[in-house]
């Protein structure tokens, strides 16, 4: 992983951060921004200006101004190759998968399974058979809760989450422990949004069955020390689920190096189509888990009173899948592999540094939340004093600048930070310094309108 910044210290949390830095896997890229990372990869830094022409929507306008899209944490834009892959599927070889004994049916199956192989390669899964296609990260987590969870969690069993989980990695576990009479515990965060691993080590004395947490916070951008948490959890006998929805679009992710047991992510945040996503899990876990949904495809044999299940991963893919979306996801994975995720990470890290500096300097009074640049992905949550984030977003919209305003599906985190709502700007491969400058101009206009 490239998200380690050796030697970074943050006031009172230095102990946590320091231990993070020393126990993560060897970083692929160094602490230096773009140049250092690119040097490690032996390639020039990512050029966001060059690749912007790959994204047709970035040439459009909003309210008569060029679209400045700063809501990639909600969903990313799609490169032409992904759009065309979906289009080509429907135009040229639309057929159901794993069925047709005819040319386009075989082509559809090959494309669908080829996409699975691409996704496996993208996260360095040992086998494509460990990739289950789902609609999004939410479905991936619900799948684990409904199968592994319902057969594993019993009365009094503990699941450890964190205070900054997206609702998708919170509510499924609430439902599970309500049904099974289990308990949830939460790793607290510091005011900067870093996990309190000292408290986590205490929580591990409860012998949790599962530790489930986000790899990158969708609200604060915090990059969590996955390998370290996983090692601690495993030592205490717990399995580990990582919500990687905000990580795979922005960082190199190697599930084998991370060591987790389940890794969930959405396709639409990583340049792929909506309705695509994946669950990775270790093969023996998938083999032992009962089916999720029942129906066609997930069976080997069906009799009137009993059935036998298909092999993994198809055991978990009942019914006709979103074939076009899966094919598009495979293309998105290949596109990102081509860019080089280490270069993507370096680009976004450099942009976060620029954004934090520029916002602090150019927007008087702005309140910025989250950890220092070295420990966060491309997410900038903020507030302007005396202006509600909805009004901020509305003013920015007139400048063609799209940000998110609200609680970003992390209401408990907002409660923890005593916030009603925040504005959030977030980046992707195509984001530029000029996008940040447009944000700054719009924020100053919002301040002008609401002053007085």
């Amino acid at each position: 992983m490239t998200d380690t910044l050796p030697g970074t210290t943050v006031g009172a949390t230095a102990g946590v951060v320091g231990s993070t830095a020393t126990t993560r896997p060897a970083p692929v890229a160094g602490a230096a921004p773009a140049a250092g990372a690119a040097g490690a990869a032996g390639r020039a830094p990512l050029d966001p200006y060059a690749l912007r022409s790959d994204f047709p929507i970035l040439a459009t306008q909003a309210h008569g101004r060029p679209l400045v899209y700063l809501d990639s944490a909600a969903t990313s834009q799609k490169p032409r190759v992904v759009i065309e892959a979906v289009d080509t599927f429907y135009r040229e070889y639309n057929a159901n998968v794993h069925r047709g004994i005819y040319e386009i049916g075989e082509r559809a199956t090959a494309a669908y399974e080829g996409a699975r192989a691409s996704v496996a390669r993208f996260i360095n899964a040992p086998s494509a058979r460990e990739i289950v296609f789902v609609r999004n990260a939410t479905e991936a987590i619900n799948l684990v809760a409904a199968t592994w969870g319902r057969t594993t969690i019993g009365r009094g069993d503990v699941i450890v989450l964190t205070e900054m989980e997206h609702h998708a990695n919170l509510v499924p576990w609430q439902l599970l422990v309500q049904e099974k009479d289990g308990d949830l515990e939460f790793i607290p965060i510091t005011d900067d949004g870093l996990l309190r691993l000292d408290v986590f080590e205490v929580l591990l004395r409860l012998k949790p069955k599962l530790v489930a947490f986000t790899h990158v916070s969708n609200t604060l951008g915090t990059i969590t020390p996955v390998a370290e948490i996983t090692a601690l959890a495993h030592a205490a006998g717990a399995l580990v689920l990582v919500d990687g929805a905000q990580a795979v679009p922005h960082l190199p992710v190697d599930v084998q190096a991370l060591g987790a047991d389940f890794y969930a992510f959405s396709g639409h945040k990583m340049l792929g189509p909506t309705g695509s996503g994946a669950l990775w899990a270790r093969r023996e876990l998938l083999e032992a888990m009962p089916p999720y949904m029942a129906g066609g495809e997930m069976i080997r044999e069906v009799h009137l009173r009993r059935s036998e299940w298909n092999d993994v991963p198809w055991k978990f893919e009942a019914g006709t899948p979103d074939i076009a979306a899966a094919v598009g996801l495979g293309v998105a994975a290949e596109y990102l592999i081509g860019l080089g995720m280490d270069r993507v990470a370096a680009h976004e890290r450099e942009l976060v540094v620029y954004a934090l500096e520029t916002l602090r300097r150019e927007v008087p009074g702005i309140i910025l939340y989250g950890p220092p640049a070295g420990q966060r992905g491309g997410v900038i949550p903020f507030n302007l004093p005396d202006v509600h984030p909805h009004d901020v977003a509305q003013v920015l919209d007139r400048f063609g600048v799209a940000i998110r305003a609200g609680h970003h599906c992390t209401m408990p985190l907002h409660e923890r930070l005593d916030l009603v709502a925040t504005g959030r700007a977030s980046f992707s491969v195509y984001s530029t310094r000029e996008d940040v400058d447009a944000l700054v101009a719009g924020l100053r206009e919002a301040q002008r309108i609401f002053a007085g």
């Binding site: 005396d386 909805h390 509305q394 003013v395 206009e445 609401f450 002053a451």
Partner: protein, 167 residues
């Protein structure tokens, strides 16, 4: 920009009319927009079938706050039956600005809250009896603007409660 954040909208946001609490409301309701966290509590003092007093507290965006300010102005002194017939279009007319679909919930939170308050008033409204504090009329402390003047408004609310924004 001027089409949405017109001066009078911003004026109602900065210095909302009827902002505060009633000493003895006959009905009170806290409405919330879970999507953005906006909250508004509306308190009514109904006497003889007429909205004699009205006040609100809460926090939220300019649109939701201006809407509550304008709406509470509108209903004071009006018969309850007339207030109950107010429609979303009436509120949008009061605002007098183009509201995008995404902001409709902000604009209409005050009306929704007012209608719940009226419904909660129930029997009290029908009998038209004297104001008597209901059990649930004390506004939650958390619902008040942190920067709002804490003073309870006098009956009639002649002077709008002023929001002393820290700027």
């Amino acid at each position: 920009m001027d089409d949405l954040y017109r001066d009078y909208i911003l004026e109602h946001y900065r210095r909302p009319h009827n902002f505060g609490v009633l000493d003895h409301p006959t009905a009170s309701y806290e409405g919330a927009n879970p999507l953005c966290g906006d909250r508004i509590t509306i308190m009514l003092g109904v006497r003889d079938g007429v909205v004699a007093e009205v006040a609100f507290t809460g926090r939220g965006c300019a649109i939701s706050q201006a809407s509550a300010s304008l709406l509470t102005d509108e209903v004071r002194g009006k018969p309850v039956e007339e207030v109950a017939r107010l429609t979303p279009d009436d509120v949008l007319d009061l605002l007098g600005i183009e509201i995008s679909p995404a902001r409709l919930k902000c604009a209409l939170l005050s009306l929704d809250t007012l209608q719940h308050a009226l419904a909660d008033a129930g029997a009290g409204l029908v009998s038209g009896t004297e104001a008597a504090p209901a059990a649930d009329t004390a506004p939650a402390a958390g619902a008040a603007r942190p920067d709002a003047a804490p003073a309870a408004e006098p009956a009639g609310a002649a002077e709008p409660a002023r929001r002393e924004a820290a700027r």
